[in-house]
Symmetry: C2
């Protein structure tokens, strides 16, 4: 039997996506194991969440290294020593170099709180609220050399309400992030994703599907039942 | 009793959105009357559609005028003579000048086959297909000086399928365009829209709502029952 894929989660913040991924791994929805959390912010709440979940944290401050290259060399060393197959960015506030990505081709994924290519960058949801979109959302994608740009695996749309502000919109988006990221990682861990240029084929994916009237959303592909959000 | 709003539709192409608007006006869903079709392309199929619907066409070729200013002066003259309240761009392949827009403040609207601000420009749906989005869509917005940029009234998201190509995606988007544009114009004709900076408030709008499993989509605001698409 093939061994389970080993995941490293890179995060810099509160770690709510990290926690959603941990839960999906522990319940067997993602057929993988988490090698460690890598965090570049020693004060990030995600570190405490990892400790409670019994997951090893590796805290590496970029400032402790003489160069970005030496920082990434340390990270790559940890990934190899941990026999890591997949790098999962979950609110990791640092760009990875092309050299790093070449070391993990097609095996680094990210989630972004916007319907890419709209609103790339560090304030996706807030930028969408300021712009005045009526539909916002989130995207899981493979990472390439350009920020928030690689081939898209799954997207979810949620309504935006005029004047609600970025935080309320971000919270509504986050609820869907906690569904589509574990779903995408389950496909990835099972080897069901194929990158074909700018497109990602999902083997056996469900057709795009809507949420219930109480929680309107649209995801494409559709979420498998186990990954659907719980109703408010 | 207040007189009905008078609409001029500007189009350059096949006129499918024009026809959807005409039908909604004739059935009383849009409480307005169509003053005329303005077309800047003498060979456009929309002209024949207008003739069949008994709607007057005004064909103005920009090339027949010495300058853009004189072209727009002619158009403005026609709008004033026709007591036009609202200018509705429906596949009109020409940018309007700031001077023109100042003459019709908050009374020029457009539809675009993408989830703006993604994929502005003349090939919205094809660009979305090439990019590899999983959710595409369309947007109705007020027109400002920047192409496909003004405050958004309503958006609809539809799934994109990897490798389906721009035409198939455009056709799926178009089906929703034919719903959200008449819906937006009905609100506009009834004076139910208020522009507040980058946001548009819709008086009495339904919450965002999803389509049925056979036709997955999400619109925000929700469509009133009369504006829902027919099932395939």
């Amino acid at each position: 039997m093939k061994r389970k894929a080993r995941i490293a989660v890179f995060a810099s913040g509160t770690g709510s996506n990290f926690l959603a991924i941990v839960k999906a791994v522990k319940s067997g929805l993602i057929k993988a194991e988490i090698a460690f959390l890598l965090c570049d912010n020693p004060g990030a709440p995600v570190i405490e969440k990892a400790a409670r979940a019994g997951i090893r944290s590796l805290i590496v401050s970029c400032g402790d290294f003489p160069s970005r290259e030496s920082f990434e060399a340390e990270v790559l060393y940890a990934l190899r020593r941990g026999r890591v197959d997949l790098v999962v960015l979950a609110g990791f506030m640092r760009m990875l170099t092309p050299e790093f990505l070449h070391a993990f081709p097609g095996r680094v994924v990210n989630i972004h709180p916007a319907l890419l290519p709209s609103f790339p960058g560090t304030h996706g949801a807030a930028d969408a609220a300021s712009y005045g979109v009526r539909l916002a959302g989130c995207s899981v994608h493979f990472v390439d050399e350009i920020m928030d740009h690689g081939p898209v695996i799954i997207q979810a749309a949620v309504p935006a309400i005029p004047g609600e502000g970025g935080e309320a919109l971000a919270a509504r988006i986050l609820k869907l992030e906690h569904c589509i990221y574990p779903q995408a990682l389950s496909w990835l861990a099972e080897g069901r994703l194929a990158i074909e240029g700018r497109h990602v084929r999902v083997d056996g994916a469900a057709p795009a599907a809507c949420g219930p009237a109480a929680l309107p959303f649209l995801t494409s592909p559709g979420l498998e039942p186990a990954f659907l959000p719980t109703l408010p």
